[in-house]
């Protein structure tokens, strides 16, 4: 009897491999699942290309008749769209930098030392995830009003940067755990201190997890709606989710503009996601897996 050695064999795989019929079935299932996953976005793309006369239509063709980029042109040159993108970008990038900075070092301490209160600390971080975001909204709103940070980037960055930190700490701690301690010990034998070992050995080896933590922080800040809606009242400060809402309120029939804006906003996020997707699976160990 031949025993397979393939590392990625699932439990349905027999030692002799799959029959062609089974393989076909798996591919068909996956293609269907992909269609379900991607189709709604393709529909948005399709609607964004429709000419004004055909916006309301029961046509399901993905490339509409008389496809045009007019919606995109209107959006970029006649609406505040570029401002919204810029504001979101500023807030999201600053959020990522602060969030990852705070989480990367804290997670290292949780991974490498058994200090008293470590367990409680980790449970505490998990507990913060249970606070309904709308619960913190009112207090943060009051704080922001009092600190006069209304309609500022600072207020937004402040409100966002810490939100993703507890999850990032868990994520990074889980990943650091899989990096063998011997590597740092070797570096320390060579005379590096623990901090230098962290910067020179652990951080470079943890790129996948750092990228994922950064990606999550980015996605949270990039598309956050609730807090932004409450905190931003000035049109020059709107992030895109707030701007969108106004766009929809004002032009409730202009589906095409909304669709074009969606495509433009989703593309950077998706590119970032797809770029980091090669790290997604190895980076997301959530503290459970060893080795």
């Amino acid at each position: 009897m031949q025993v397979g050695t393939g590392r990625h064999r699932g439990f349905f795989t027999s030692a002799r491999g799959d029959s062609p019929a089974k393989r076909l079935l798996i591919h068909v299932t996956l293609i269907l699942a992909c269609a379900v996953a991607v189709y709604p976005f393709l529909r948005v793309v399709s609607i964004s290309l429709r000419p004004g006369s055909a916006l309301l239509s029961t046509d399901l063709a993905l490339i509409p008749e008389g496809a045009t980029f007019n919606n995109y042109r209107t959006l970029i040159f006649e609406k505040d769209f570029t401002i919204w993108l810029w504001n979101s970008l500023v807030v999201a990038i600053a959020t990522v930098i602060i969030g990852v900075l705070l989480a990367a070092t804290a997670a290292y301490a949780f991974s490498r030392w058994k200090f008293p209160g470590r367990r409680q600390g980790l449970v505490f971080l998990l507990t913060t995830q249970m606070l309904p975001p709308s619960m913190l909204l009112l207090p943060i709103y009051v704080m922001v009003v009092k600190l006069r940070l209304f309609n500022t980037y600072t207020g937004m960055i402040l409100a966002y940067s810490v939100g993703a930190v507890p999850f990032s700490i868990w994520l990074l701690k889980g990943y650091y755990d899989t990096v063998p301690r011997e590597l740092e010990e070797a570096a320390m034998v060579d005379g590096a201190g623990p901090i230098a070992a962290f910067y020179r050995i652990i951080l470079p080896l943890s790129t996948p997890a750092l990228a994922i933590a950064g990606l999550f922080s980015f996605m949270t800040a990039w598309s956050e709606f609730m807090m932004a809606r409450v905190m931003l009242q000035k049109a020059t400060m709107f992030t895109w989710p707030v701007g969108f809402q106004k766009l929809l309120d004002q032009f409730s029939t202009q589906w095409g503009l909304f669709a074009a804006a969606s495509v433009l906003v989703a593309i950077p996020a998706m590119l970032l996601f797809l770029y980091s997707s090669r790290w997604l699976i190895s980076g997301l160990t959530l503290g459970g897996v060893k080795g």
Binding site: R9, I83, V90, A106, T127, L137, A159, S262, K290
Partner: protein, 340 residues
Amino acid sequence: MIPLTWDIVSHGLAESGRFLAIAVTGVVILEGLAYIVLHRLLKYKYALPAMLIIPAFVAVMALIIYPFGFNMYLAFSNMSMYRFKEFSVGLSYGLQNFLDVFRHPVLQNVTFFQLLWRTVCWTTVNVFFHVLGGLFLAILLNRPMRGKAVYRTLLVVPWAIPQVIAALAWKGEFHYQYGFANIMLQRLGLAPIRWLSDPRWAFIAVILVNIWLGIPFMMVIILGGLQSISSEYYDAAQIDGASGWQQFRSVTMPLLQPVLTPAVILGIVWTFNNFNVIYLITKGGPMEGTDILVTSLYKAVFEFYRYGFGAAYAAVIFIILLVFAAIYLRVTGGFKGAWE
């Protein structure tokens, strides 16, 4: 229209740059202070880890725990739209706020217990299908085959689309006349459904959207878990003559447990607290028929301006989640993998 001028660009750079500079300086000062106090003065054995953790904890305290405490304080106040600046705090106000949560409709029609039941249904159905769908796809993907990378990439798309976009796009697809859902139903010869004006169908619609949104996260987590299971276990199981199902039950599931437990807890908490999907698609309507606890909380606070009541209500929601998580951790044995 407001053009994106150099003024606005430079203002954004300057303000965020200043904030970053202050934040980084703050971290360095905190760590320096911790180093001097803990290491030099107290000769504390764990000075180094403490030093590394302090900045993150200070930030969490300031921006999560302090607002949380402030929320509890507001729960004992009579703050409302007319008493935003000058409100009073007292035990009797708190008592009244907390009793109001259970006594009267939270907004206009639906009571707390109806909302709680609906939230539990929403969470259970969603997480069940997230895990089921994620497990199914992960198992299919966890084998050598052609086009695996392409499938994986495409399957992650719902997660990669910002939730605001996904929710609003789906809202369009549930349009009675022009939405994909009804067009398809009609082409299949079925009657169109009043997706967004019938509360029951609206609730089904938001659940469908959220299931679609949440499967990729579970799929990726489970795939990571599956890949970390050494194939030796399967080889041994096969030599013992275990069937596919037996291997799944006795090898895959137990070894997946440490990955699945935290993922399921996070999934439940995130779904329970998910505001975007419901609020953006139905605003909780029609007739508050799709409101769950967190959307009605948001509406009570920012549409009905009942600040004190909202704070008490938020506290009740938090306690429910906390109790749930404690029980779940006890039952499943928790995060053993994470402590070692």
